[in-house]
């Protein structure tokens, strides 16, 4: 019995005592002053007492009732609060589930329980934590389909299911009977109307679950659901962060971050390979130590005003590698922000040494073709013009010049043919069929 209730009971008997004394005083007055005979006075007292007792009892019955209700609500809230507090203490899914199950068993005074989580990949409910169940039973019920058994039904309907007497319930699984479970509540763990799992609590003794208990358990189920969702989101974010870090680290492009002062804060593996520096050697140093001086002004300006103005723009810059060689890089710059405030820039850099080399090779190739075409053409043009301008030249010389024009035309044709051959070869190498021949 609670202390508050004890106090109420003492008050009740005090009132009864006071009433007895008041009525007695009244009757003494009648007997002594009014001369009413004693037996009649005693009878009156007794009747008065009976009425007073009945009245007090009735009033206090109502008071007790209200008191109990209030106490009950307060307990429910306290339980709910206790569960909410304990499950929100952690963002680790395993800890959340263990904490939730322990707390619910503690407040319901039950010994057996289990939590299933909905596994999107398999489309099944997966037994994740349990208490007070035999290994054999756990093995048998470790996976449940939607609609299977009591657990599967609770998950499907999203409503709690109460089993008061297992042996009489058609929904019960035979395994549960072998486990000697007699009564159980299966409550869906929901967050925003989405079922994330099911929590079962069971008793091996006879046990009735009052409507208020089921209601309380439903509220608890929602609390746990929210905690599970938070933990799952946290896991997902952590996983993604890890993945992102992995991708940044192992990207084929060099990636490095600089803070607003231009100091390196991140340097991935490709950056190490391209630059020849280990990250310990550059982190904390200004990036201008590595960037060739003619690019300092432009890059510092971009860092200051942020790269946002021209997203996706690429720049060609040159960095010094560890051995002082200039390394041409094609870079893109993205702003780095933390809570909406700029904290620096992230640079993705591609080593374009090979591309530059090919570009130069191509230019060289074009120049050599141009040379091979221009030289014979120069002779042809010169001698044609000479023949046209000096019509009176002796036939011998004119013939010589015509011969040169003819020879050089042939050379020109040959060069053209060779050039076409080369371009044809190049095309075939790139997997295209040549349809022109």
């Amino acid at each position: 019995m609670s202390e508050a209730r004890e106090k109420l009971r003492r008050t009740q008997w005090a009132i009864v005592g006071l009433a007895a004394m008041a009525i007695a005083a009244w009757e003494v007055f009648y007997f002594a002053v009014k001369g009413v005979p004693l037996p009649e006075c005693i009878l009156d007292w007794a009747m008065g007492m009976a009425i007073a007792l009945a009245l007090v009892q009735f009033c206090f019955h109502i008071v007790y009732e209200v008191h109990d209700q209030l106490l009950h609500r307060a307990n429910q809230l306290a339980t709910l609060d206790a569960v909410a507090t304990s499950v929100s203490r952690s963002l680790n899914l395993g800890e959340v589930l263990n904490e939730a199950l322990d707390k619910v068993l503690e407040v319901t005074g039950l010994e057996s329980g289990a939590i299933y989580l909905w596994d999107r990949a398999s489309g099944e409910l997966q037994l994740t934590v349990h208490r007070g169940l035999s290994e054999e039973f756990v093995r048998q019920v470790s996976r449940m389909r939607l609609g299977e058994g009591v657990t599967g039904r609770a998950a499907m309907s999203g409503e709690p299911i109460v089993v008061d007497e297992y042996v009489k319930d058609r929904r019960a699984l035979p395994a549960a009977m072998q486990e000697n479970l007699r009564a159980m509540v299966s409550m869906p763990l929901k967050s925003k109307d989405k079922v994330l799992g099911v929590m079962n609590i069971a008793s091996r003794r006879k046990r009735r679950f009052a409507p208020w208990e089921v209601q309380l358990l439903t509220s608890i189920g929602n609390q746990i659901g929210v905690a599970i969702e938070n933990a799952q989101l946290f896991d997902e974010i952590r996983e993604r962060k890890k993945q992102l870090a992995y991708q940044l680290e192992n990207a084929s492009d060099a990636i490095f971050n600089v803070d607003l002062a231009g100091r390196f804060t991140f340097f991935n593996r490709a950056a190490e390979v391209i630059s020849g520096y280990r990250r310990e050697e550059v982190l904390g140093r200004p990036f201008t130590d590595l960037l060739c001086p003619e690019y300092h002004q432009e890059m510092l300006a971009i860092l200051r005003r942020g790269a946002e103005e021209e997203p996706g723009r690429t720049y060609e810059v040159e960095f010094f590698d560890k051995w002082g060689e200039r390394v041409p890089l094609e870079i893109t710059i993205a702003n780095l922000k933390k809570e909406g405030r700029p904290i620096g820039g992230q640079v993705v850099a591609r080593d374009i040494r090979e591309r530059k080399r090919l570009e130069n090779e191509l230019l060289e190739f074009m120049a050599s073709i141009s040379h091979n075409l221009r030289t014979p053409l120069a002779s042809i043009m010169s001698f044609s013009e000479i023949l046209l301008s000096y019509e009176n030249e002796n036939p011998e010389t004119r013939r010589e010049f015509l011969n040169i024009i003819y020879q050089e035309s042939q050379k020109l044709a040959k060069v053209l043919e060779e050039t076409l051959d080369i371009s044809r070869l190049g095309r075939e190498k790139h997997g295209q069929k040549d349809t022109s021949s």
Partner: protein
Amino acid sequence: MAKKILVVDDSPFIVRSLAFILKKHGYEVVAATDGEEALAKIREERPDLVFLDVMMPGKDGYEVCREVRSNPEMGKPYIIMLTARGQEADRERGLRLGADEFMTKPFSPSQVIERVKAVLG
């Protein structure tokens, strides 16, 4: 006395055509077909103007140009470089090394004469 012009090119036809047209206009023409020969001819013949091909086996036009400009004994011939590549980078490099002018192949003889007259009078 006729002005002396040295024509340097590894292609005999270019040499032939330039020599022909220049002689027709009364210039004295000396020819060379590679860099070494060109340097020797410049030293001996003291030409007033040199047509100098860029791409030659052995010493190329740039080198000849640089040596002429760095050696006061070579006199101060006007140097017109001949290029068949037509690249801006070549032109810049030639001018930096002390060439006076660039001419891209193919060129027309009348254009050549025009330039020579402008330079030598």
